[in-house]
Amino acid sequence: MTDATFSSRAITKRPIDWWRWSGRVFLVFLLLFTVLPMVWMVLTSIKTQFAAMQYPPQWWPAEPTLQNYARLLDPSNSVGQEFLRYFWNSFYVALTTTVIGVVVAVPAAYAFSRFRFPGRTFLFFSVLLRNMFPAVVFLMPLFLLMRWLGLVNTHGSLILTYLTFGLPLSIWLLKGFYDNIPIQLEQAARIDGATRFQAFILIVMPLSSPGIIATSIFSFIGAWNEYVYAYTFLSKQESMTLPVGIQRFFTEFATDWPGLMAATFLMSVPVVVLFLVLQKYFVRALTEGAVKN
């Protein structure tokens, strides 16, 4: 303790800590780099089409308006109808993927964490290596597969695909959480007469809920943001998800930039809110596994 106070005093006594100052300057730079594009997106979204297309630009909108948002969220006009439909599709696909994904990943992760069965390492690495494969490589065969299964233009094709591609990461994340739950807890339950399944449901599941939350956020955000498969599998307008729909929508009118900015803003709201609320879990999930303590 004395050591600590001594050294921190030593730091504060120094005249100027250049490293600390350069760190601060750097952070300000990064903050501007990160935030300014988002600020400009929001500023553009509250301009009229006319105000956005000016040179030099209006740095601050002269007549801020919410008409772009109102148009997108109003179900009584066709633009709003389309947008809300894409929104709902995205939500439906992301939620279904997340729920099924967790149900499948939980037992698998538990097995990888607890059992030592032959082929475990091999299976595990094949699970892990999936992270390496580019979506585009799978696009063509999956497209043919989906056509054969009659799933093209259905949300089923997306859910099945996202599920598979989300699973390796989900399993990997969850395994990290199970590794941290002491085996002794289960053993105690088993001694008290619980079956393995009961021990799993009653002891392990509740303890791993942070892991399940983290994994769910990850797969929800991943599914919500996914573009490549949705872009290829869905050609019917009524089944499109937001990332694809948004594009169709606005290339028709070529350059409705304020409208497009409003749409990207609305599209980002759910994931950003989810992230901000559950930040702790998100960060933990992101680093879990890569950093060993």
Binding site: D3, S7, D17, R20, G23, L27, L30, T34, V35, P37, W40, T44, M53, Y55, P56, V104, P107, Y110, A111, R114, F115, F117, P118, L123, V127, L129, R130, N131, M132, F133, P134, A135, V136, V137, L139, M140, P141, L144, L145, T164, L167, P168, I183, Q187, Y227, T232, P243, Q247, W257, L260, M261, T264, V271, V272, F275, L276, F282, V283, L286, V291
Partner: protein, 320 residues
Amino acid sequence: MSTVTGQAAFAGDPAVSPRRAGLLRRIVNHRADYLYVLPAIVVMLVVIGYPIYYTIELSLFKTPPNLQMKDKIFVGLDNYVTILRSASFRDVTLNTLIWTAGSTLFAFLLGLGAALSLHREFMGRGVLRALLLIPYVVSAVAASYVWKWLYHSDFGVIGALAVQFQLSDRPINFLDNLHSVLPSLIVVNIWKEFSFAMIMLMAGLQTVPDQLLRAAQVDGANAWQRFWHVTFPHLKSVSMVTVLLLMVANFNSFIIPWIMTGGGPAGASDIWITQIYNLAFGRQRYGVASAYSVILFIVMMTLGYFYVRALTRGDEARAG
């Protein structure tokens, strides 16, 4: 579920499951354990195993453009030869390397700087970290549109700012210029992913023992020496994993170049992935696209090998 198997596996006790037992016997003994993994395996076999097999198969065929795969003609390795001989292959590969290396390097450096600056506790640190992470969370589609607007050749705010500060006499055309298009896209990519590196390295920094840093300080090491000789060696394995994950993500990134330029102008921002997509879904040359995919696949597997090695080093040490 058999109790014996359960208990044997339960403790992970090596003494109970002797190495000597035959593989088959061990598999039979552990049959119940596979049930837990089965759902995941089945889903993945269908959606991952089959496509891999099919891609490799298609890469050896000349495929008809109408997707009637029963009409395909076996051509051996011709598709591979076509790719390697094609004029664009070298340029696209060079673009891919620049894109991957540039994005990875700068995202990592910015992330490292951010992690080091954010390591010390100060007011607003949590808020700052959250703000910096937002680009990583939002969809790449949203990011691409926003940046496309920022780069807009007539009304883009970056060009206008450049004029304002007299760096240029007229708005800059970032995305239609052969030389500026790739760096411009790389900036977007860095914007999107540097905070991933930041988060990973922040977690890594927590493993650096404070006592060591203090000891070094007492011994008279300056800030740079403390970083280079104490902090950085502790970050080595995290950095490895971070760089590899970034590399893989960048190698595979499709959305930013696809939405912002579609590989143009004149292929100046075409990378392997966009090229493959164009070949398959633009020109309907599935065979050639598949062969391209297989080549990409091999590169990824190589990276994957290092990834797994970097990742499991700690795992094995812990498992003993």
